[in-house]
């Protein structure tokens, strides 16, 4: 088995480097561990004050054990090995942003529970079908998405953006760029 950093050791590294107690810290930085973190476990539940959990640039295989992250707003999991959204229910009351670019996600099932989700960043995943985007209609607060680098994203950026606005009319930003009045009108015209 490839070497890995256990979550509790990553937390210890963070405390030693920053001179803080992780349990009392709002932004907990566990990104880029060498060797990588491969598994989320119950040590997460100790991070009671954490609003932004930075776990990007590791080799985490699945989302699990989020229970106990009582304050979490931003869950950052970019550049891992995650294949699907699961076990999000545990943090659905507080979670507002999921950053999960550079993973292996094909489907958007499992996000409907995240009722407060405002931002979803997931460039460079494996989403192939527009029908997956329709599932985000279950997230009433969603206002910003990032999907660059997924197979379904059209080379013709203008058409892709209009289609995105048609599917999710409440969006304010797509791929970092604000939705403008002309785009909104074009999306409405395409409806009629």
């Amino acid at each position: 088995m490839a070497p890995a950093t256990a979550l509790k050791d990553a937390i210890k590294n963070f405390e030693a480097t920053k001179g803080v107690k992780a349990a009392e810290t709002e932004k907990v930085e566990l990104f880029g561990q060498e060797p990588p973190i491969v598994k989320l476990d119950s040590a997460l539940g100790t991070l009671k004050a954490c609003k932004h959990l930075a776990l990007s640039t590791n080799s985490i295989g699945a989302i699990s054990n989020l229970a106990g992250l009582d304050s979490i707003k931003v869950l950052s999991l970019g550049r891992n090995q995650i294949k699907k959204f699961e076990n999000i229910e545990a943090v659905a009351d507080t979670l507002e942003e999921i950053w999960i670019s550079y993973n292996l996600i094909e489907k958007l099932s499992g996000l409907d529970k995240a009722r407060k989700l405002k931002k979803l960043y997931m460039s460079n995943n494996l989403i192939e079908k527009w029908s997956e985007i329709e599932k985000l209609q279950a997230n009433p607060e969603l206002e910003e998405v990032l999907f660059q680098g997924n197979p379904f994203v059209d080379e013709d950026n203008a058409a892709y953006r209009i289609q995105m606005i048609k599917t999710l009319p409440n969006l304010k930003k797509i791929d970092g760029l604000p939705v403008d009045v002309d785009e909104r009108e074009a999306a409405q015209a395409a409806e009629e």
């Binding site: 930085e29 990104f31 880029g32 990588p36 990007s56 640039t57 970019g78 550049r79 090995q81 970092g176």
Partner: protein, 153 residues
């Protein structure tokens, strides 16, 4: 105004980044492309460019570098970028307003390395070290703009 003053704080970094890009010639890029084994700092600098452009990256794999463990570079993507004649121009005109906080977090494991700076990169790789200054300037801009933009709105 206060917002203008804050934004001015990012200007030296942005000017330095443009100067650094201007110091890189197509010839420098050509010479780099020809290297069979580019220095590892070059690969890491190019990974930062990949992250900022949201191009494909390999999964994380730590390997031995010259000064300790480093993330293995996604150099295939880098070579592809270098083959584009518009490469340097695309960085000059980079849409830095569209960066996200996630982009910046994904850069952290690279920019936190002790040897990730212009001088070390220059020693190893010559003029293309300017890309290191460029990546750092983009981060600086993002941090400053985040404070300033709400004040302008």
């Amino acid at each position: 105004t206060e917002a203008e003053r804050d934004l001015a704080a990012a200007k030296p970094a942005l000017d330095a980044a443009l100067d650094a890009l201007n110091s890189i010639s197509p010839k420098d890029i050509g010479a780099l492309k020809a290297l069979k084994k580019p220095p590892d700092i070059v690969k890491r600098i190019f990974d930062c460019v990949i992250v900022l452009r949201r191009f494909p990256l390999k999964a994380v794999n730590w390997v031995d570098g010259k000064n300790g463990k480093i993330i293995d570079g996604s150099y295939e993507t880098s070579l592809k970028m270098m083959s584009d004649l518009g490469f340097l121009g695309s960085l000059m005109n980079f849409p830095k307003e569209f960066m996200t906080d996630e982009d910046v977090e994904l850069l952290q494991p690279y920019v936190q390395a002790p040897d990730f700076n212009y001088d070390a990169a220059k020693k190893a790789s010559g003029n293309v070290a300017g890309l290191c200054s460029w990546a750092q300037a983009m981060i600086t801009y993002h941090h400053v703009a985040k404070v300033v933009t709400p004040k302008i709105d």
